[in-house]
Each structure stands twice: as C-alpha cells, then as structure tokens.
Chain length 647, copies 2
C-alpha cells in the first residue's frame, strides 16, 4: 500500500489501481487562468498567499517559534494553536510549487521554516511553540483544549504536500518525528484513555501519512483515537462532551453536532479510516452523519454551523440566515469530507455538495481582491447591523485574532485541481467543470467551458481513454450529451453520471447543462426563512445587496414578485466580477409600523395599510461576491410579495 | 429627602408628597391568594423560597463565606458573584416578612446570615467571598469582570428591604460599611478612571440607599459611575466594550446593546439617577434606549436578549423564537426599568410593558410547582431538540451552575404588591389588576377580579379618595367604566388612563376590559417569524405545545387556519393551571421533502405535493405554562396555512 510522492492528490483515500476513482497525481491538472477556478487560483497565488505569509510574520506566528531558539524576545501571541497557521501556509506553498514548478518564490521561506521547526523541535520529537514556550505547561497535559495533535495534523499535511509536490523531505523529517512521538504516546497500545484530541484533524492527517509512507502505525493510531471517543475521557467542563464529539462512540453517531469544524474534520478522519480498513460500522455512521448534516443542517450555500455560540451545529432545521455561523473553515472541512465520501462511494451527490460549498460557502470567505476574509458567513446582514465585533463584521476583515480561515483557504484553492477528476488513462470521471487540462497518463482531457456561468462543457479527449463519466449536477434537469457530434443518452445513472464509451483516438464530447434561474422554496421546517425564496442559477446562489437598490430603499422593505419569472441579467460572468440575475420587486415601507399588529377582522395576516408599494427592478449578484462594494444589507432569502398575489 | 423605612416600596424613585405617583408603603397591598398574582406569591413562599434557601446551602454559597471564618474547608464554588445569590434571597425573605408579618420562618436564617456577613467583612468594609478567599486576588483589581460592585448592589438592596420590612438594621450596618468603602474608592472625587462595574446593578442600589438614608454621597457615587462610562476604562479583551455598555457615554446611548441584563440594570440605574437629579440628557437617552429596546428588540412575551452568544441584544428586528435568549433575569431587569420609567413619567405604556413581561417573559421562568426554572426562555422548541446543555434545556431545571435567576424571581414575586398601584389617600393610580386590597392611608381599594383571565375589575373604594386613575391596557379596545352603577367616559387620556372623580365616601367602580383572542401579525422586519401569527388574549400570550397534539403529529407540521377565528376554550383560568385558546389547524406532513425545492412552473412558493393536509383542532395554552407536562416541542408563533387560503 506504499504511496509515492507523485501518485496522490491532497489527502485522499487509497484507491484500487485502474479504478476510475483513483485520485489524480500531483500536477495532473492545469486550470485555465482566464476562467473561474483558474482565475481564483491566480488571485490566491498573487494576492492571498503573499498576504498570509506577511501576516505570519507580523502577528507573531513565526516569533512564537523564534523565541524558542533565542531569536525573538516577543511574548507568545495568537491562539494556542497558532503554529497551525504556519503549517497550513506551508501546505499552500507546496501545492503552488507543484502548480507552477518554474516559479517558486516561497521556497526560501518554506526551507527556512523547515529549518526553524527542526531547531525548535525537542529531542523526543515534540513540537508545539505554545506549550514549549510556557514553563508552566507540559506536553499532552490538556487533551481537551491543548490542540497539540491538531497542530501535528496540519504539520503532517504540510509535510506530505511538500514531499509530494517538490520531493523535498526536510519538513517530512520533522513531521515524522513528531508523528512517531504521537504514535508512541497515543498508539493502539497506549493506556491513555484520553488519547485523543479535543479538536479533530490529526486523524485524517495520520491516515494520509500512512498512505504516503506505508507505515501502518499511523493508520492504527488514527483508528485508536477514533475508538477512544465517547467514553468521556476528555473530562468535564463548561462545554458539553458533544461540543467535542465525545458524547458517543463514533460508530453510534447519528447526528451532526457540536463545534462544526471539529465535527466535519472528524467525519473526514472517520472516512479515511473506513476507506483503509473497510470498517462497515464506520461507513454506516458516516451515512447517518451525512444525512443529518446535509439533510437538516446545511445552508443553501453549503455552509454549516447554525450557532455563534460554540460555533456549532444547531437542532435539525435550525438555519437562521442572519445568525448563520457557517465558518469558512467548516465549509472547507465539509468539502474535504465530501471528497472522501465521493472517493469511497463514487456517488455524485458528494461532488454536488463539494461544488455547492466551493462556489458559495467557501468562495464567500474571501474578497475578490484576495486579501479580506470572512470567518463567519451569514446569509443575511441587516441595515443598521452593528459590525463592531470580529464575530459578525459588516465586511471582510484583513485578518482575525483567530486566523484559521485565511491559510485554510489558501491551501484549498492552491490544490483545487486535485478535485476536478479521478481515474486512469482508461477510465475517468469528471466532477467539477472547470476550463483547463487534465492529464491521465497518455490520456489528455482538454476542457473548455465558462462554467459555472454557462452550462456548455466541451471536452477534447486524446489518448487511450475508454470511458468518461460526467457528473450530471443534482440541480440540473434535461442535460444533453454529444459525442463527436452525435447525440447520446444523457439520462444520468443512479450514481449521477452520464457515461461516454470511447474508442481509442481523439473525441470531442459536449455536455450541455441548462441553467435557468431556479427559484428555491425552503423546506417547510426551516422556520427562519418561511415566506422567502432564494435565487440560484446552476450551482451559484444569488443574493440581493443594498448597493444595487435605489437610494432610500432599505433592503428590509423589498419583496420579490414571483408573478414575473426571474431571468439572467448582464454582467461579466465571474465570481470575481459581476454576474447578475434580474427579478421584479415591490417595496413595502415598514416605517412607523407597530411592533406587532392585532388582526381583528382580517382572516389572514396582511400588511398594515401603512405599507405603500412601489415597483422596483431587482438585481441579484452571486452570494460569494457580496461585501465587495460599499457595505450594507444583504440577503439570500428574499421575502415573497404575498400582497400583490392576493389583491 | 430622608426616607424612612415604612414609606418606600422596593427600589423606587423619590416622589412628591401627595402626588399620585408616590410609591406605596411596605405592606400596603395584600393580594388575594385565590387569584393569579396572589397565588403566585403563595407558590413563591411555600415552594420557591424554601428551595432557594436549601440550594444556598447545598451549592456552596454559604460555605464560600463560612470558610473565611474557619467554619468550612470546602473550596470556593459557583460563579465569582455567588454572594449575590444570598443577597437576593435575603431580599426576598425581607419582603415575605413584610407580607406575612405574623409568620417569619426565615428570620433565624436571615439573622444568622447577617452575623456571618459581618464576621466575614473586612475591617475596611470590603465583603466579597470570592476575592477574600483567594490570596492571589486583590479587591477592585478587575473592574471588568470582578462583579464586586454588583455583589454590593444586591447586598444594599437586601439591607434596604430588610430594614424597611422589619426595622432590623443588622444587614444595613454591613451594607453601609461596604457601600461607604465603595464611595471612598469610587465616589465623585475618585481619580480611578475604571471606577465602574463591568456588571451594572450597584447604580440603582446606591440611589435607593440614598433615598433610604438621605446620604447624598451614595447618589453622587452612582452618578459618577454613570459618568465614567464610555471612556473605555474597562480595558480591552475578547469582549467588545458594548458588551459592558462602555462603548459610549450613557447620555449618548441610542440603542439597547450588549449583554441584556447589564444593559437593563444600567438603564434602571440611569432612570434612578435621572429621577433624583432631574438630568434631562439622561432622560432623553432613556427614551431612546426604551424606543430601541421595546420598538425593535423585545419579544412578544416582553423578553429581551436575542443572542445566546454573550447573552446579548441583537440587531434591530433580530428576534429568533428558537434561539431567543430572553433570560429570566433580563425580563426582571426590564420590569424594574419600566417601573422607574412609569414613576418618572406616569405614562401607562410602561405599566403595559411591565404587565406583558411579568405574565409572559418572567412567569415562564418558573414551573407551576415553583421549583424548576428556565434561565433562557425560547419562544420555540423543536421536536428533536438536543436539551443536553444548561443553556437550552428541553425543560426547566431545578438549579443552574449560574443560579442568578431563581433568587431574582423570588425577590420579585414576594414584592409584587408594590407594583400594583401608586398614590395617596386622595389620588391614586392602579396599574396591575390583581384581586386584593390596597391601603393608602385612610383610603382602601378592595379589588375583585379574575384578571388576567377575565376583563371585569370591580373596585370598592372607601375613604377620602378624590380621583382614581385606572390604566387602560394598550392591548385593549372598547374599555367600559361604571361608577356606582353609572356608565362613565372610558376613553383613555394620552397617558393611557381613565379617571374616576369621586366624592368622599364609598364607591363601586367597575372597569370592563374586553378580551377577545387577538391574532398578532409580526412586524414585517422580524424575518424569523414571517408567515406566522401569535395568539394573545388580554395580556397573556399563548403557545402550542406538543402534548396537546394527537400522537404522531409533530408540532412542526401544524399550520393555523385563520379562516376560522380562534376562540376562548375551557380550562381553569390560571397560569398555574390550564386556560386555553382554541383554533382550527391543518397538518401538512413534511416527511421526506427535499431540503429545498426548485419552483420551475409555479409563480409562488407552494407546498410540495407530498404534503397531505389533515384538519385538526388546536389547543393553545398560556406561554408561561409551557414545559409543565411531558416535554416536547412548543411554539408561540404559528405558521399560517396559506395553502388552504388560496385553493
């Protein structure tokens, strides 16, 4: 089961050779920088990553390490897991080195960081600047809050990326020493009941390290950590055990609960262990968790985490748009979990979920200029919102006291190519429709498309490919397929794909995915958006934003008139620019209305007579693009004008 | 301005002699134990107060003090302001002594507590068991979080109550020594910029101590503490200055913000200082705060505090029913603030607000048996709610880790009589319609009513009363007034009263307040309950609760059919028993529906065809009575069946 550095994409389960679910080798995909995902990678490389690297220096992340070797006298700064910001950044740098091997501007930084980490690392392999910098702290003393294994997890992922992308093993040497210490301390033979991390992440990382090195102890340690959950070993405190997903054995999990990022990274780790061990009880638990998370606790943007308190999942159908937490890191974790579920099952609904959260919940986390970020991603911001708190700012901030999200975004965007397709030169599957080139051995797929702004996807195939499975998105009706100019059956199979069987040679495949504007009604149990609709076109969710309204019309007074069908409007078709959906609206002033109105004679609630309607054209923009202009109100779910319909 | 112990009700501004806004003397009101408020006082005395006293012993509140005089070796337990639980309880005990002078079962406890507090008190007057019990802490070292002045405030209120109710000055001696220390440390001449408490409460208490003793320094110190706000003296930290209401000078306040209990106690203190100093800028700020709190941030139950995170106010119109925090203590603080606004202005809307929050937001905080409590008071609980956290339990708990609410309820309920009326033997006002007797010098009001379950209020007046002003509740239309059998003008004046002019002698006044079932539509900006209505009758808000539904019908699938007018149902008319409102409903199954549904051909959102309607009789109970039976779902705001109306 040994994996070498050039056959695995970021953090992927093992795959059977020849199977069309085999992850792509590093460097197999080059995305077109003129189109959506490729352009995002360019912004990420040219704007986000330099910004993140600069902040590692200015916010103390590097000084926290330097002081341990006498090169800084600054006190420790940042959250206790600040090291992980560096590790995520090193992972992003590695993927960028693989993506643009000819230009590696951060290689000196990465090399110096590896040297610094090696110098800070203790003799026994331990490496955590927060614990090492505080004489009052001892390693592994507080598994509940210590985050040391979380930091190790990100170090391992960075080291795997660096070795796979560049062949350089300096960071891997550091990571393995720390990982080996964790194996000794918390491996299957450990008697420590609390041998698990209060913040899951290390589980998925250790499984990847197993795939990378072939060293079974890493997999077994990850599995042992899962097995220890649910016994209450993390101890008591003001936070409930469910916050840490320590309230139940993982195999009995049935509901996504607690801190959202923790739950989603844990699920990714469970999927990794299940993929390597074939543990059916884990797989069944994952199916239940997925049904809970995606069926009752996900926003239309793919974001998860309904509560600010504890950054946590709420009850089923508790999905407030205004107080959505929907942390960017939770969205990234959900993406990673679905990737593992996709590779394990092939079920295209997992790719649907990845697409949804990528283009909406994740993309909203960063500004079009790549240097400002949201941590929480609400689906509504009111006029008069108090944006003083970092917790609910009115616009993206250029950094956060807890800056887990920006480097997480950087590592994801730099590795986006890895998630586009899987397979071998004989059989492949295409999931995310992005313009670019996919190389699978002797087979090349040349993809031309303006997706997600246009549903036409042209694929020129050269090489020995025998079958190409194309995902038909769940949002799509009436997909059409053409192979070499001849219409083919485009009814998706139960797993959600249309399949083109190909003879050796060159072919042109054209997949057409019609993209009308969808008007979405919420599930009737989602109380928080009753009486509203959301606009979606293809996979992209739209929103109304105050700057698109006439002066003097607060967004809160706008209703959508559904007697006129929303339609596609003009605009440059890019998340980074200005695609639009147009609709008809009505303004109903709420000024001076009483707080609640008793209806004495009316048989149904109706707007008080003070509401004067005025017709208005509505311009909706992609949700992910909100807060890139002068601030103001925003909403994804738009109240439907019921008055107009009944009078 | 000296007040003696027998002329002031709990915590009231000074009043002009002879004015009909003069607070009642202690013991002036005896409520009928067979009717609503009087029955609540009986439960409070016989069930709640013994329970609270028992818990002071079992949860460490008393041991925290005893250990400081060598009588306990238990470590400190509870929140750092645990002493205040004792002080609030002592206040409740004092009001009970005044209410039932012939039976004072807790007098030995109160006397012993005063002795214990005197022994613990330092030479200089300081008295806080948390700080005194920790050698690493110094007094007044952390004004942001220390709560020492908050503890002092509750001690002062208890001491004033005890001296007024019983004439005993043992607790007052302790309280004044501590208060005098605070005056020396934080009085107007203090140079401490941080001379204010991170948790307001002491301000209103010091003004009351000024009224009680005539010592101007207490008033001046309270005013100085207000004046220091807004300069950022509380320092920085993870909580925003607005959490502590330290983001603006109090005279510039324009929006209710931050931690709700803090904001509301602060407002009460501002109102007290304004009443005694005639400070017009403070009064103007209070009007703005009141308009913000009651116009945009109050639940239909009168509860306040929309966010669990920071137990805080949200943005205007951010009023989620499920995640309502609406802490019981915040409801009590709102009641106290409105009492002060009422006495300062005479405006009956403040009595409306008191009535609303008392019978709904506050009453919900305690079970009918008086021994189980809610801390947060949601307006909706979903089927499948995870009630594991103290923060959002599925039912009232018999105690809390932070047990501020139970003793706060006890002191309020034991003093309810004080809020019924104001005035003198010549001129009086009646606010809360409760059966009982009000004595104002030689004048006696004998009130017979089944209010709030029936709108007929009979008042027999004897004595020299010349004018009686009767509040016409804001919810009421078509009030009728009869004086000695003759109909009188019942149109309320601008302040909200009808006034009966009386010749000396005996009179019978009958006020009739019609109580149809009101169907309330929310303000259109309250997104969280769009498409829903609430049922209210008189001042009482109703709710649907799972135990009243047929087996197998989840509350989430119920809609109300407003083509049939809701009507009053049978049931014993008491918050402690079972009043009901009946309505027609429709069940629309949501089982198996997709998370969101794209509407392709429909011009408006409609329920997916899978929803099979079934007619159902709905039985609504008073909101304050929910969670007294087997647990389950509850909702105040009921979705309106739109399908039925348009098909």
């Amino acid at each position: 089961m040994v994996r070498t550095h050039d056959v695995c994409a970021p953090a992927t389960p093992s795959a059977v050779a020849g199977h069309d679910l085999t992850p792509l080798p590093v460097g197999a995909v080059a995305l077109d920088p003129a189109r959506e995902l490729g352009a995002w990678q360019t912004v990420n490389r040219e704007r986000t990553l330099p910004h993140v690297v600069e902040r590692l220096g200015s916010t103390g992340v590097l000084d926290n390490l330097r002081r341990l070797v006498g090169e800084s006298d600054a006190p420790f700064r940042g959250p206790l897991f600040a090291d992980s910001d560096l590790h995520k950044t090193l992972e992003a740098i590695a993927w960028e080195a693989a993506r643009v091997p000819a230009d590696q501007p951060w290689e000196p930084f990465a090399r110096a960081a590896a040297v610094l980490l090696a110098r800070v690392q203790r003799e026994d392999g331990y490496l955590d600047s927060h614990v090492q910098g505080d004489a009052a702290r001892a390693p592994w003393a507080d598994m509940r809050w210590g985050h040391e294994l979380y930091v190790l997890g990100h170090l391992v992922q960075a080291a795997v990326a660096r070795e796979r992308a560049t062949g350089r093993d300096d960071l891997m040497a550091v990571a393995r020493r720390f990982a080996d210490l964790a194996v000794a301390e918390f491996g299957p033979s450990s008697t420590r009941a609390d041998g698990l991390c209060g913040h899951p992440e290390v589980e998925t990382a250790l499984v990847e390290l197993y795939r990378h090195t072939g060293e079974r102890a890493y997999l077994d340690t990850a599995a042992a950590m899962l097995d220890r959950r649910g016994a209450g070993a993390l101890g008591a405190g003001p936070f409930e055990p469910s916050y840490f997903q320590d309230h139940l054995p993982v195999r009995e999990s049935h509901e996504a609960t607690g801190h959202a990022v923790r739950q989603l990274y844990l699920a990714a780790g469970m999927a990794d262990v299940a993929a390597e061990t074939g543990d059916g009880t884990l797989e069944a638990a994952l199916e239940r968790l997925w049904a809970s998370a995606h069926g009752t606790k996900a926003y239309v943007t793919g974001g998860m985490g309904s509560r600010h308190r504890d950054e946590s999942f709420g009850d089923p159908y508790e999905l407030p748009p205004d107080r959505a937490y929907a942390e960017t890191c939770a969205a990234i974790a959900a993406f990673q979990w679905d990737w593992r579920m996709l590779l394990a099952s092939g079920d295209a609904r997992h790719a649907d979920a990845m697409e949804r959260v990528l283009l909406n919940g994740i993309a909203a986390g960063v500004s079009t200029d790549g240097r400002r970020f949201f941590y929480s991603n609400p689906l509504q911001l009111r006029s008069g919102h108090d944006g003083a708190s970092e917790d609910t700012p009115s616009e993206r901030l250029d950094w956060y006291g807890c800056a887990c999200c920006p480097p997480n975004l950087a590592r994801l965007v730099s590795s986006l190519g890895a998630y586009v397709a899987t397979g071998t030169e004989q059989r492949a599957r295409l999931y995310l429709y992005a313009a670019g080139t996919v190389r699978l051995g002797a087979t090349t797929l040349d993809v031309r498309t303006d997706y997600p702004w246009d549903g036409r996807v042209e694929i020129d195939v050269t090489g020995p490919l025998e079958e190409l499975a194309l995902r038909v998105p769940g949002w799509c009706e009436d997909a059409a397929l053409e192979v070499d100019g001849v219409a083919a059956d485009a009814a998706p199979d139960p797993d959600g794909y249309v399949r083109a069987a190909l003879a050796p040679g060159g072919h042109r495949i054209v997949l057409t995915l019609p993209m009308p504007v969808d008007v979405l009604a919420p599930h009737p149990r989602v109380d928080a958006v009753r009486g509203c609709v959301a606009l979606r076109r293809g996979p992209v969710v739209f929103c109304l934003e105050q700057p698109d309204l006439p002066a003097g019309v607060p967004l809160e007074d706008v209703r959508i008139d559904l007697t006129v069908a929303p339609r596609v409007g003009p605009g440059v078709r890019s998340l980074r620019a200005g695609a639009t959906v147009l609709a008809e609206g009505v303004v109903r002033s709420s000024e001076g209305l009483p707080r609640a109105t008793a209806l004495r004679r009316s048989s149904r609630p109706s707007a008080p007579s003070g509401m004067l309607p005025g017709r208005i054209a509505l311009r909706a923009i992609p949700y992910a693009r909100w807060a890139n202009r002068a601030g103001g109100a925003m909403r994804v779910w738009i109240p439907v004008d019921e008055e107009g319909l009944t009078t």
